[in-house]
Symmetry: C2
Subunit: 335 residues, 2 copies
């Protein structure tokens, strides 16, 4: 049923090499021959098969984004930035969702780059330990990290310590003392950094750090970066610390849950989220902005340059996140 290059060649009375050339945009084909081949190909719905092309040419024209969980606003925005860039450059994007946990997680990551299904890889929020990174280093495959960095890899990330610091310090500078933090999975690297920044702000201000003010909800699903996780955490926090007077939240999506918890419990304290996802502007959520689309675009650019020159100097781009003030901190921080 499905026709091959041989069928087209026979019908057109040319060699398979010629048919191949027509489809590979080679200009070493006469106008006349090209038209004939194209017409026949069109009539039978022929198009070169991806796998055969990939094997023979050793090029797939594909770059692969490797992400730990699907359906996450942060990834969605980054993927949007990647897609915009890639489309312009004629590359195809494949998205690989690593579903494993623990050791299996790394095995999946390693597996996917070994299979050589793409010419280059964008790792989004893939956090590994040094042994694992070193091991990945052995593979002669272009990889650019997003939201992570490690010696020897190109990367594009945001300073999480600084982001959390800015949010917390803003509260402190406005006179707040009892500032909670809604956290998520403790082993998550961005969380560790954000907790570090949060702590640092207290240290710099000579305020004692109270670990019981860092709380998270259930972390089983999406590492706790969910509305529900924020809701649970805020509820818990208010019950344990009725005198809480401000709160920093590890993600905007958790902040959405936290806002509802406050509403349900009829308390109202200033809140700062993290990410600046699109809805934040509309619900008036103050937040620490990460330039997600830009990060996707820059990382893509970096990867393509690496693919063209494997001895280019390693580039590590580190963004400074920005504090955006809106209604959720109104009348307090805004002036």
């Amino acid at each position: 049923m499905a026709s091959t290059i041989y069928d087209i060649a026979k019908k057109a009375g040319v060699s398979i090499a010629t048919v191949s050339r027509v489809f590979s945009q080679s200009n070493n084909v006469s106008e006349k021959t090209r038209d004939k081949v194209l017409k026949i190909a069109e009539s039978v719905g022929y198009h070169p098969q991806a796998y055969a092309q990939g094997l023979a040419s050793k090029k797939s024209n594909t770059i692969m984004a490797v992400v730990p969980v699907m359906s996450n606003y942060f990834f969605m925005e980054i993927l949007g930035g990647i897609q915009d860039k890639l489309t312009k450059l004629g590359y195809e994007l494949t998205i690989y969702n690593v579903t494993g946990t623990g050791d299996n997680f790394f095995q999946q990551v390693e597996h996917v780059i070994r299979r050589r299904a793409a010419e280059g890889y964008l790792f989004i929020s893939i956090h590994l330990n040094p042994d694992q990174w070193d091991r990945l280093h052995k593979y002669p495959v272009p990889i650019t990290l997003i939201d992570e960095f490690y010696e020897g890899f190109d990367s594009v990330s945001v300073d999480n310590v600084q982001g959390a610091y800015k949010a917390t310090k803003a509260f402190i500078d406005s006179g707040y003392q009892k500032i909670g933090m809604i956290s998520a999975l403790a082993s998550s690297k961005p969380i560790q950094d954000r907790i570090k920044g949060y702590e640092l702000a207290f240290e710099d201000s000579d305020i004692d750090f109270d670990p019981s003010l860092v709380v998270s909800g259930n972390t089983d699903y999406r590492d706790g970066f969910t509305e529900k996780g924020g809701y649970e955490a805020m509820k818990h926090m208010i019950q344990e610390h009725p005198s809480l007077d401000a709160c920093f939240c590890a993600s905007d999506i958790q902040a959405v849950g936290a806002l509802k918890a406050m509403d349900d419990l009829e308390v109202s304290i200033p809140l700062i989220g993290y990410d600046d996802i699109e809805i934040s502007e509309y619900i008036g959520l103050s937040t620490i902005r990460q330039p997600m689309r830009d990060m996707g675009a820059i990382a893509t650019q970096t990867l393509l340059e690496r693919m063209n020159d494997d001895k280019k100097a390693i580039s590590q781009t580190l963004y400074s996140p920005q504090l955006i003030l809106r209604k959720s901190t109104n009348g307090i921080l805004n002036k």
Copy 2:
């Protein structure tokens, strides 16, 4: 640098067939041989190459989701459902983002299935005209449609006419008359159906239909299914129709924008959205629920069955959407 099956075979002192069998989970290999091969493969980081396997076996173990735009909450949820199902079954998911517009859009769709990079395809919100569907029908490729249906294709969709009808009728039954609708790109099929349901509710209640009450914001980006689109539409609507007393919104994400517009203009009328994305519960948005994750899972199931039996009867699953009442219609519709 990268080793092949030949290298492994030579080092292990076996034939390439044996190495291949070790990796294809065939059990026709002695324990001893398998261990030896695996050890050597591990030491050099060998893994069969996807393209060579795909070509030789004519199987890619991959299914492809074809989506029109990246970064859309509706797709994200559906993809989540697909991913959950697929992971259990050992298939890989590739996501293809159709970026073209107009004729080019269909060409991209056709192109992607011709390349045979996957064993089966899930088309999410891919809306074509009859000629185009018929043309796609010629290809001997398993395809399941999500959020669309067409004669001869397996599909999983939701009754958009009914959804819009339910929302509008609920308003009418509560005594509202001047009910606006926030729409999006007029040529979008779900929008056409939702407008139809909206109209139908008026007809059934013998109320005159006022087309000027159907408004949309800018539709350039994501067909207008954006916070901004909803914001603009609501602002416009309130200005043109100060006596508006309720509003149905074509998506929750637009409703988020609409809520802000109401807030900015200091008006407050009941609002019903569409989709029931995760945040809706937390911001108290009444909505028409589409079972997005379920749709993804069921469609995946359907596709896999089709892949195993190409003469199975066509299945067209049509969900009835459900009205969910929350704070945005409080005290009015809730009892």
